[in-house]
Symmetry: C2
Subunit: 410 residues, 2 copies
């Protein structure tokens, strides 16, 4: 019996474990800080009050309940010893024959570590809940304030980072202000909220086709979002953000500006890029430790001269690949290098507003939006979740409401 | 235009506001610390991972969106001045012609204030989330622990208080341990968990018929819950609870042992009982301030020599009554004293296990459980919530799973 340890049950780790589960030659141990697999592409919907936490999260041990060779531990990994093949956690030491590192990426504040206090990130459920509280509270604060400047500050939402997450967040806030809340306040008009999407580069959604980007920009504007490109954040505080020499007063800043490798990558002695991501061999193994594989967002992998993006499909394919390579190695079979099969990319801006690029097929509007809906429901873990998400989206579509507008104060 | 201020949007305040909303002779101001009305009878289902937070919570301002004469503020009331008719909040002063105090009850630790840190209460959504984290984490801790004593401690759940909340919580944990989690762990057997329901009196569910109580006891036992009556808690700490001279090692203690008036009751100069609840006149007004009414759990009201219990129907009827009395007073019409119309009582223990007492009609088992289901769905606010709760219950019923088994760590 070989011992396989998998660190992280995101898209990479989960898909690796699914390949190995039930195979009687292996014991699989999954280690994760959380008790759930998180469907991160919909995390912004929790932050923007469209879905519940549990709609996009699924208990890891439920997924593997029927596979007796899979153990799941909610533990914090504190160290990895590649020489003696050990993973050290907060509660014990796990010996492995093969290790799959799949603990993903975390928010990157580019050394401005104190900004995290004022511009929270969106990487896990507690972040989404915190952001939702912040966004919904801003309207409550504005409604009860008597000071016009104060109100303006509360009704200004700044999103830093024009990748898919930033765009989706900005679009969702646009919908909340322009559609959902219009009739519910007496002292303020939420539809006058200022929503600003800040991007340091010269365009948002960089990886998309130029025509689609233009479409996304128009869609964002129709929801009241102003996009500021070539804009670099110079300072962030509790009630303002500085962009170069300009200052915007705001009580809600969201950080979607970039990621870097999980700090666990530092614990293993191997080559990394400047974001701390692990430089792997063409079979996703570490050149220093051939029995250690790394998959997903923690990996720096180049294909055709381009680094693979931090997307769910990349992590899923890499997770499956690493697991299959282990099976082939054990069976003494040959295997080919990892090759990412691009399934295309999608981004949604709001109801009936999305862009999709699937090979040469490029669409926007309702068709792209429906594609987006189906792809996301299809890949969501758990029948109940799929059913509930579909129902809540249908309900939101017909009522123009958001279903989870709950502030959970301590 | 008369100004009516309502403190609290629980069952009492909400129902008062619904009577007054849309009446052009009044401006209604609702003040609440939270942004949502909470359907408290199902709060234990959030704590026990059966439902989502937003399934049982509804934004207050959504309920009154179409009534322009209703204003909602998420504010903390800090003082009430009955002489000059003012409610002072953390952000401003609200002048009133009529005031309805409906801010309910809070957990009562009977002066052992530090117990709150070890035995959390269940009064609001953040409490439910905290309890859910605690309950689910206990199994995770047990699974990864190597020490048998430690495991036993993690697999011991103590609920203090044998009223409906305590019974429902104990039953729900019974179901989790005996049904939901049975196949998901490798190192522990959740079905061996010890669940102990502590009650200081000589019986649980005191207000019910003796035969029904017996049935509830058998139902609890069938789910692994042991009921300790005549048991008084003498000490509580992070990993034990003392009952008289006995000590139980446990990492999860829940407090459902009693309530007292919201501390806001202290701010108004009027007669109170020993729980701080307001002694009102027979029309629910305060004898010192005839334009101030108090309704719901903050009120001490005797009928036929018995104090009305802290139940949703009482609060709802009182809220409606107070609002109608104000309308009648303004119209110069006579009105009768408040009289509670007893609709009966219900408690659920688990799937197909409940007791119901509706006038002379006393049932238990599946029929009582179905009654319980329908009553709760009927009274839930919001069509979407009713639909989603029904679906999740149906899903849980057929799959034996709990739908919201998510630990949200900070």
């Amino acid at each position: 019996m070989k011992e396989i340890v998998i660190i992280g049950a995101g898209f990479g780790g989960l898909n690796a474990a699914k390949i190995l589960a039930g195979n009687k030659d292996f014991n699989i141990t999954i280690l994760d800080k959380e008790n759930h697999h998180l469907f991160k592409p919909l995390l912004y919907q929790v932050a923007s009050a469209g879905l519940n936490e549990s709609d996009i999260a699924y208990p890891i041990r439920s997924i593997f309940a029927k596979y007796k060779n899979v153990k799941v531990f909610k533990e914090n990994v504190v160290d990895i010893d590649g020489e003696s093949k050990k993973v050290i956690t907060d509660s014990k030491i796990h010996q492995y024959d093969y290790l799959i590192i799949a603990c993903g990426a975390v928010e990157n504040y580019f050394k401005n570590t104190n900004w995290v206090n004022f511009a929270p990130p969106l990487q896990k459920l507690s972040h989404a809940q915190h952001l939702r509280n912040k966004i919904l509270n801003a309207f409550e604060m504005a409604e009860k304030s008597k000071d016009e400047e104060e109100r303006k500050k509360h009704l200004t939402f700044v999103i830093v980072g024009g990748g898919p997450t930033g765009v989706e967040l900005a679009g969702a806030i646009g919908e909340i202000t322009r559609i959902t809340l219009t009739k519910e306040f007496r002292n303020i008009d939420p539809s006058l909220s200022r929503i600003i999407l800040i991007e340091a580069n010269n365009t948002i959604l960089r990886s998309f086709d130029k025509k689609l980007i233009k479409k996304a920009l128009r869609d964002l504007e129709s929801l009241g979002v102003q996009v500021w490109t070539n804009s670099r954040v110079t300072d962030i505080s509790g009630d303002y953000i500085n962009i170069a020499n300009e200052t915007i007063k705001t009580s809600t800043i969201m950080w979607a500006a970039g990621t870097m490798a999980n700090s666990l990558a530092e614990k293993i002695n191997c080559d990394k890029d400047q974001m701390g991501k692990i430089l792997v061999e063409n079979d996703l193994s570490l050149n220093q430790f051939p029995d250690v594989y790394a998959v997903g967002d923690i990996v720096h992998f180049e294909q055709n001269g381009r680094v693979l993006p931090g997307l769910a499909p990349v992590a899923m394919q890499q997770g499956k690949y690493a697991a299959k390579v282990i099976l082939k190695r054990e069976a003494g079979k040959p295997y080919k290098p990892f090759k990412y099969r691009d399934k295309g990319q999608l981004a949604t801006i709001g109801r009936s507003k999305a862009i999709a690029e699937i090979k040469r097929f490029k669409v926007s509007g309702t068709l792209a939006w429906i594609t987006w809906l189906f792809v996301h429901i299809l890949y969501l873990t758990g029948f109940k979740n799929r059913m509930l998400v579909m129902l809540q989206w249908a309900w939101s579509y017909f009522t123009f409401k958001k279903g989870a507008r709950i502030i959970i104060d301590k």
